[in-house]
């Protein structure tokens, strides 16, 4: 089923703050097999000029998926989750995510388009601290296989 184009341009209310912990960064780094000390060792991170351990570049997927998820779960959109695969992903950084950050994500559906028999949908997530300092912007494009057929 084609996705409902009326959803393009819809923004969703900011997420509840996501508290970035050292433990979660370490868990994520371990899961991707990355032993970089800046993800694990506060002293190493401070020696590199950061206030605390930093997160790998793809870490924001942990909380940005959740905020975008609400948009995608809206039955009016017509998305069949069983057929969804990830199409494209991008992270634009103002600064790295740092342990201790309290981050708020605001999701917007920026594009819905057809490519062959697939439907493509892009969610932009603006990530800031609770004080409003911009940290990064993520762009997540999902593919609904056969959605346009």
């Amino acid at each position: 089923m084609a996705l409902n184009r009326d959803f393009v341009g819809r923004s969703y209310p900011p997420s509840a703050p996501y508290e970035v912990s050292r433990v979660k960064i370490r868990e994520f780094a371990t899961a991707i097999g990355d032993n970089n000390p800046l993800y694990r060792d506060k002293e190493a991170a401070q020696a590199a000029g950061y206030p605390d351990v930093i997160a790998p570049p793809t870490f924001p997927i942990v909380f940005s998926l959740q905020s975008g998820g609400e948009a995608l779960a809206d039955p009016g959109l017509g998305l069949n989750f069983a057929m969804v695969v990830h199409g494209e992903q991008r992270f634009e950084y103002v600064r790295p995510v740092i342990a201790g950050d309290e981050l708020v994500t605001t999701a917007t559906i920026t594009d819905i388009r057809t490519a062959g028999s697939n439907e493509l949908l892009t969610v932009r997530s603006d990530v800031t601290t609770v004080e409003g300092e911009p940290v990064c912007v993520t762009y997540n494009t999902i593919v609904e296989r056969g959605g346009a057929a």
């Binding site: 994520f28 990355d34 800046l38 570049p57 942990v62 998926l65 969804v84 199409g87 991008r90």
Partner: protein, 142 residues
């Protein structure tokens, strides 16, 4: 927050050595837990085949994370990556055996920007398939 690679020491066209990253089913289970992406296509073979996939496939974000690791290990400071984007052009099929799959990442300096930034073009392959395309990172060098 300083990359160990110096802007003046890289040239456009310079190739970065390829590195192999291994992925087994257990890695996908760990990644599901750490990322919160519990889509069954990444751990349930029966479900994956039911929805028309050849087998369990890796999370695209797992593959992207390996490409990210490639760039951050090269740059010397993960915080030097200021922009990182990929297209998932093919699936990484992960069989249920002791070998799993291999993701091979390589890179090339595509462009030197102002302010000591460079564009690193990335290629990721698994078997014959190019699994990431349009993959690029902008890195702040010193």
């Amino acid at each position: 927050m300083t990359a160990t690679v110096k802007y003046d020491q890289v040239e456009v066209g310079q190739e970065l050595a390829a590195i192999d990253y291994h992925v087994r089913r257990s890695n996908l289970v760990m990644y599901a837990g750490a990322s919160g992406d519990f889509n069954q296509i990444h751990w349930n073979e029966r479900f994956a085949k039911m929805v028309g996939l050849p087998d369990v496939i890796a999370h695209g974000m797992y593959t992207m994370a390996q490409a990210g690791r490639y760039v951050t290990d090269w740059a010397g400071d993960p915080g030097a990556v200021v922009d990182f984007g990929v297209r998932f052009s093919s699936m990484v099929v992960v069989p249920d055996d002791d070998q799993g799959a291999t993701i091979t990442v390589s890179g090339v300096i595509e462009e030197k920007l102002g302010d000591k930034r460079v564009v690193v073009g990335l290629v990721a392959r698994s078997g014959e398939a190019q699994v990431l395309s349009k993959a690029r990172a902008v890195v702040q060098l010193s």
